[in-house]
């Protein structure tokens, strides 16, 4: 994985809000074809890091590279086109139907052959039968799957998932994990931000831990069991060794 140049790269990134230091000297690479799991306790700076990576907040200090080029005012639009972002919020309009939601976002991004693509995406997430139903009538799991269809519609090369499992029942979590595992095989990078190792360890390639605004751990996920991953996480966030 190391030979492939990162699609997203941040080096020595810092961010302060007033006197509060939120991120300090954060360096992280995200490669195409890998799923990077970013873990961290509440207040670790995950949301701020996400907002910087999605260009919604400007970094205070450090470099932020996209495909090897520095992210500036000029190429922020190009980066936004390449990013697909899913969070615990669905980003869907409850009073529009599933198809209308996808159509709106597809047109906003200038997606070609939109109707065909909408049909394919709804099929892929198992919602083709409810395309004309208003999203407000969907269960949480259905909304999250439609949210995934929304971002895949634009075929992003970077997928950022911020706590996507929040509010999902075990069945919904399993379905989402299956869908996420399918995304890794395509030529895109996936960055998943979560508290919950259990649901996503099986699909992760690398694990990074953000703690008090710093990267406290960055390690390959290969060979890690749930228990050993938890141990490493605990050690990174508390500094204590667990036998």
């Amino acid at each position: 994985m190391a030979e492939i140049p990162p699609i997203l790269s941040i080096k020595g990134l810092s961010k302060r809000f007033g006197h509060v230091r939120v991120l300090e000297d954060v360096s992280l690479d995200v490669h195409v074809g890998e799923l990077l799991l970013l873990l961290g306790p509440n207040g670790a700076g995950k949301t701020t890091l996400t907002r910087i990576l999605t260009t919604l907040t400007r970094a205070g200090r450090g470099t932020f590279l996209f495909r090897g080029e520095s992210v500036t005012e000029k190429n922020r639009g190009a980066l936004r086109r390449e990013i697909g972002y899913i969070s615990h919020q669905t980003f869907l309009y409850a009073h529009l139907t599933a198809a209308e939601n996808l159509s709106f976002y597809g047109r906003l991004y200038g997606v070609h052959e939109l109707d065909v693509r909408i049909g394919t995406m709804l099929e892929r997430v198992g919602l083709a039968g409810v395309a004309d139903r208003q999203v407000g009538t969907f269960s949480r799991g259905m909304q999250q799957r439609l949210s995934l269809a929304r971002v895949l519609l634009t075929d992003p090369s970077i997928l950022i998932l911020d706590e996507p499992y929040t509010g999902l029942d075990p069945e919904g979590s399993r379905t989402l994990t299956k869908l996420l595992a399918g995304l890794k095989t395509e030529s895109r990078a996936v960055l998943m931000i979560t508290h919950d190792l259990e649901d996503c360890l099986e699909v992760a390639d690398r694990i990074a831990v953000l703690h008090k605004g710093r990267i406290a751990l960055d390690t390959p996920a290969e060979g890690l069991t749930l228990e050993s991953a938890r141990r490493q996480y605990f050690q990174a966030t508390t500094g204590e060794r667990v036998s």
Binding site: L56, I83, F91, Y93, A94, E100
Partner: protein, 224 residues
Amino acid sequence: MRYFRVVALVFGKDFKDELRRKENMASSFLFALLSLVLFAFALDPTRVDLNQTGSGLLWLIILFAGSLFMGASFRKETENGTLFALLLSPCDRSAIYVGKFLVNLVFLVILEVLLLAMAFVLLNFRFQDSVIRLAVVWLAVTIGYAALGTLFAALIAQVRGGQVIYPILLFPILIPLFIAAATLTQDALSTGFSWSNQWLRLVGLFDILFFTASVFLFEYAVEE
């Protein structure tokens, strides 16, 4: 060309959404109707010349009812985080503003037409000037109101308790516009006014200044 496609897209999506959710429109229309009925009962037409004082009352109703509707235009985008998704899209952000502005403008025009029609019945308005002149004045005032109302709605969208501070921030800036609106309407209902009227020029200036400023400032209003 893509810019106007995004404007049309945001306008179409918002319009459809408003028609289906109904709550913002219904509360504003209901508030306006109730206010007008209350004024009609409270004011004795034998002691007060409603043709003189009624225009001010009408604009007062439009100010409050309009702010009820416009204040929600960006706040509703935070319900499921759709504002975040809009800002993340690769389009010119000012196109989002213009789309929202147009929805608010259309809504206000519908509200005003209904309100004015009811005012002729309930407040016994008598018409002295040309309808076109009155329509131009009302449209010009509404453009300024919608321009500023939409920008401030974006400003408070991500602020906790934003709906409370929305009128506090917005109304003081609107004072000159609404004084002009009430004066011009009053003139239209009595003696009439000329196209070179200074209040009319003030409204024109207000529109150009605040619409242009809002288009440029929107990006900063929605950024953290």
